[in-house]
Symmetry: C2
């Protein structure tokens, strides 16, 4: 039976001043999906590991399944695909878990079918799957998971994703406290309207961040990593956020904010050494509050998800 | 009598998606200020040419005079300075006229005093003078007039101005219709609050524009040059704006919006040839409506204002 295994990385969306439009991919962790050609047409999910039974196994209700259904529909193919998901990302953590599964599934199936599409062409199917998970079509997690690096979603409809230059030495730490937060909760705390002055400030910081990343100006990156639109509201849902952020900045992080809509907290750092120290700082705050969690220190993934193996004999 | 003449260029602020934070300098037109050392201490203005008698001649009420007063105060100097202004920019046009006079005056006086300050150090005095003209401390005109190129004001307090990379072949056309608009009027038409979605869209476009300028990606620059925060409201104050913008885009301009708060209209173009055609298109719209105006076609000034001559014998 012909099978392909693919990996797609976790992502940090929003990135402080890039609320709803910016994201970047981590080297690790990520999700792994194995896609196999089967005789019975249609898409099925044979198993999901690592989700503690919480994700729907019906293909059309699962982001990985739905992304593949949409891809096959677009290709006019009635081939049979069986997916097996290895979730290595915590669910509802703000690390782009649903998006990573969709991207890994798309990469595996595309490879299985001898790559009828390039990566940019695969993106809309991942976005459709995100629509299922989040209720709205956001590309800020799936774009970096699929394309790698820092991506800016200039427009969702039509989809216009910009790949940004960034310093290769940049390193990230993400702390995932064992608190769960649904994307829906974290959306409802946001006001529908914002002060014009706040909108201007956010745009200035995002413009400055894009420039700082391109010029490898770490001081500018640091000054720009400020979110005035979402963080002030969402941080209320994440206990000890302010203290954790202060610990990360005191350890030398360039900036620190919620990853996606939280509860994970990320800090961007100029080196792996600083990222480790910032992670230690954040972790200690939560340890002190008797909240367990997982710390991930990772470089930035430049290329997006990738094929782990293709095998005809599995 | 020791004298120095300095030129400071007109500027286009806002630049569509860069509302309140972005600006760039034109090669021409600009204002010229002659500063002379005189025996009587304090700052005076001996003459203002080209303003049809509309600008205040009292130094502390004029942006050029006030900028110099603030500079001398900071230097602890009680030297006597006499200024002569040659306004070559229309007033209240959206071309940064008040800022250009302040910048030219600062450059001339700084040279006259053997350059005690560098350009970045001069900026706060120009911003103080703008506060006088606009009622709020904006650097989006004076920063490009003083520093050249495209500047992004990441923060006004503390002042944090970022110099952006941009394609040197970029060309601009500005049409100044003979309609006057005070900055105050154009501020009052703006809502105090905006939709969160609009804020996000504006920030995405600004981030994309910064990336497009740095990578010399003209298609991206063009897609990003959209203002959803100010133009929809301010264009109501500028008759025929939509038709003029359409004419510029039809002529091949990358983007077109109000210069500053208007009524001038600018279009950014990939070449001088296209800028001329876009200017012709805009001009024809206003000619058809029997509204006179002036068209300026200019490259982007990369270095900011400059000294025209220093002379001890004037």
């Amino acid at each position: 039976m012909k099978s392909v295994r693919a990996f797609a990385p976790a992502t940090v969306a929003n990135v402080a001043c890039g609320f709803d439009v910016l994201g970047f991919a981590l080297d690790k962790p990520g999700d792994i999906v194995t896609a196999s050609l089967v005789s019975e047409s249609g898409v099925s999910i044979s198993a999901i590991h690592g989700d503690e039974g919480r994700l729907p196994q019906a293909a059309e209700k699962n982001t990985a399944g739905l992304a593949v259904i949409e891809l096959l529909k677009s290709l006019g193919s009635n081939v049979g695909i069986r997916l097996e998901l290895n979730k290595q990302l915590p669910l509802c953590s703000g690390l782009g878990s649903s998006g990573a599964s969709a991207v890994a599934a798309l990469l595996a199936v595309n490879e299985l079918l001898d790559n009828p599409m390039n990566r940019k062409e695969l993106l809309p199917f991942a976005v459709r799957a995100e629509e299922l998970a989040c209720g709205s079509a956001h590309a800020d997690n799936v774009a970096p998971s699929l394309l790698g690096g820092f991506t800016l979603v200039r427009s969702s409809a039509p989809l216009d994703v910009v790949h940004l230059d960034f310093p290769k030495s940049l390193c990230c730490v993400v702390f995932h406290p064992e608190l769960e937060l649904s994307t829906e909760d974290s959306r409802t705390v946001l006001p529908g309207q914002v002060e014009l002055a706040a909108a201007v400030q956010q745009s200035a910081n995002l413009g400055a961040l894009v420039s700082g990343l391109a010029r490898e100006d770490f001081s500018l990156i640091s000054r720009a990593l400020q979110d005035v639109l979402a963080e002030p509201f969402r941080k209320r849902l994440v206990p000890h956020f302010d203290t954790a952020k202060e610990a990360a900045l005191n350890a030398g992080a360039l900036g620190c904010s919620l990853s996606g809509s939280g509860p994970s907290i990320f800090a961007l750092c100029a080196s792996r050494q600083v990222a480790k120290q910032a992670g230690q700082g954040i972790q200690n705050v939560y340890l002190g509050a008797e909240i367990a969690g997982t710390t991930y220190v990772s470089g930035i993934n430049s290329t997006g998800g990738y094929i782990l193996s293709g095998d005809n004999t599995l």
